[in-house]
Point group: C2
Chain length 323, copies 2
């Protein structure tokens, strides 16, 4: 497949390497000339512009930060290939593509990262075993295009997760964006109380690790997904208030246990052990059901896909009632 990768940082650079390693015909571009030189020196074909990279490509992968997308998208005008992206928020990008009249778009989000960034940190195996969200909107996404991308990314070893943009954004708020806000709130405590900093051990270390992220990056992530982040943050504030209510009771220890049990069970069972590989019909509804159950696609056939999903689904109802 002829693929253009625009933006050659950690994710884009790794995608360029992974696609080339899988035998695809890749062309890269980056706005930074030193990055272009580094990629050329690594042996890749590098175009002189976004339009130059996209021209003649069957797929253009936009691996630029969210705030840069509005500048880059208009430069695709005239190219008629498929377009995907890798940003961490999917609803706003979907809106952006519609606003710019990009017809063949399938949003993506590889859940891969490292402490380091830039083309120098990129590696061809970054996506092996990583979850790669691939958005599938009923009555909107071209199903053939979706399968093309699912085949491409599973071919690189990624776990392709079929979800709607809205479902992705809610899940991302829950497992990434709100946890960053929690970590920031916990970390700030030691500013006014150095004693607490001196006593902090494992639970402080782990609970605050991502608070060290550059504030501008965390703010961009959360602000870019603000509707979902607000909704999930409000819900969690309610959960914390219920815990506080339990502490007010006559027997705070017994009252608090039920508020902790489901989280403990869930965390011990995480990450889920996949069950046996199963064939899932290649239809929008079957694939969205797979994603909602915590499953993912491992390879793509003509009429069905091979999928894995968690071995034992959590049973909140029965657990809630257990002693």
């Amino acid at each position: 497949m002829r693929v253009a990768v625009v933006g050659l940082g950690l994710i884009g650079g790794s995608l360029l390497r992974a696609l080339a390693a899988a035998g695809h015909e890749v062309t890269g571009f980056d706005a930074d000339s030193a990055t272009r030189e580094a990629a050329r020196a690594a042996g890749f074909r590098i175009a002189g512009s976004v339009a130059g990279a996209a021209a003649g490509s069957e797929l253009t992968a936009l691996a630029v930060p969210l705030p840069v997308l509005p500048e880059v998208i208009p430069q695709l005008a005239g190219a008629d290939g498929l377009v995907t992206d890798v940003t961490s928020v999917k609803g706003p990008v979907r809106d952006l593509m519609k606003a710019h009249g990009v017809r063949r778009f399938v949003g993506g989000h590889p859940m891969a990262g490292k402490e380091t960034s830039g083309f120098a940190a990129s590696e061809k195996d970054l996506f092996a075993g990583c979850a790669w969200v691939l958005c599938l909107e009923p009555h909107e996404t071209d199903f053939g295009d979706w399968l093309t991308l699912a085949r491409l990314f599973t071919g690189m070893g990624a776990r392709v997760v079929p979800v709607t943009a809205a479902e992705h954004d809610t899940a991302a708020a829950q497992i990434s964006h709100v946890p960053h806000l929690f970590a920031a709130a916990l970390a700030e405590q030691i500013v006014a109380n150095p004693l607490a900093g001196a006593l902090g051990a494992g639970s402080f270390r782990d609970g605050t690790r991502v608070a060290a992220t550059r504030p501008e990056l965390t703010a961009a992530m959360c602000g870019g997904n603000r509707d979902a982040v607000r909704t999930e943050l409000h819900r969690l504030i309610g959960v914390l208030e219920e815990m506080s209510g339990a502490l007010d009771s006559d027997d705070p220890v017994s009252a608090l246990v039920p508020h902790l049990r489901l989280g403990a069970q869930a965390r011990r069972a995480w990450p889920a052990t996949p069950g046996r590989p199963e064939k899932v019909p290649a239809t929008t509804q079957s694939l969205l059901d797979l994603g909602r159950s915590g499953g993912w696609v491992t390879s793509v056939g003509d009429t069905d896909v091979v999928a894995l999903r968690p071995e034992a689904a959590l049973r909140p109802e029965s657990d809630r009632n257990s002693s």
Copy 2:
């Protein structure tokens, strides 16, 4: 020094080993006969009762869980040595000792832990480099007794942190108890949304790690320190609501950054780099000032102690106003 250690789990067993290694004359006791046998087999002198262990000891260290203390303390009646403990909450234990008429008590809390528990997991070096809170109450704690314990624990390589019980309990709520509640709230999200569990990566993994703790243990910790936990939890809920307010603004990204910056600076500077060793007068006020500034005692002389404290104190005022 003749020391009795009551309760030979991870902490008590390690204390028995560390004191013996430092040349002290130790006697142990545990309510569980198999644990007593294991400790005897490891070469330790083991008494047949709490009173038998405490009799003739200059110090009795109670290394039993908080709920067990009310049963154990009355068994010390008649013994006139110094008493300390190792539980994770200090105000309630101080009240308990007063209620039982224990005169010579200095509360302690070694911030040491492992994933494993029990005598089999104990090791003589568990406390090397760990913070060991040693409570110092103005007009209440016998200063000579405090120095005796500080000498004992610094001799095992621990960093002795002088604080009041109330200051300890606030700090423990901030850096351990409330982080456990945050982790539980975050972990429970994936019960209703398996998709989120499938997408969870580093920030979810670390932010929820301690949610896997047995719910009864977390509830006992938080319930045992409920006044401080409620106060700190309410304050943090307020911080999260301010972040939510920032997300409501016209420019959520810019509005959120100031709410993240102090936490990011604090987390990057944690754990603090200690400055040069300094001599601190051995007075209650000087030692409490040391603890409040995030410092600790490394060795104890006759009229002063050698101490370390963070090299550069965080400066919240100037940072708050920086661009």
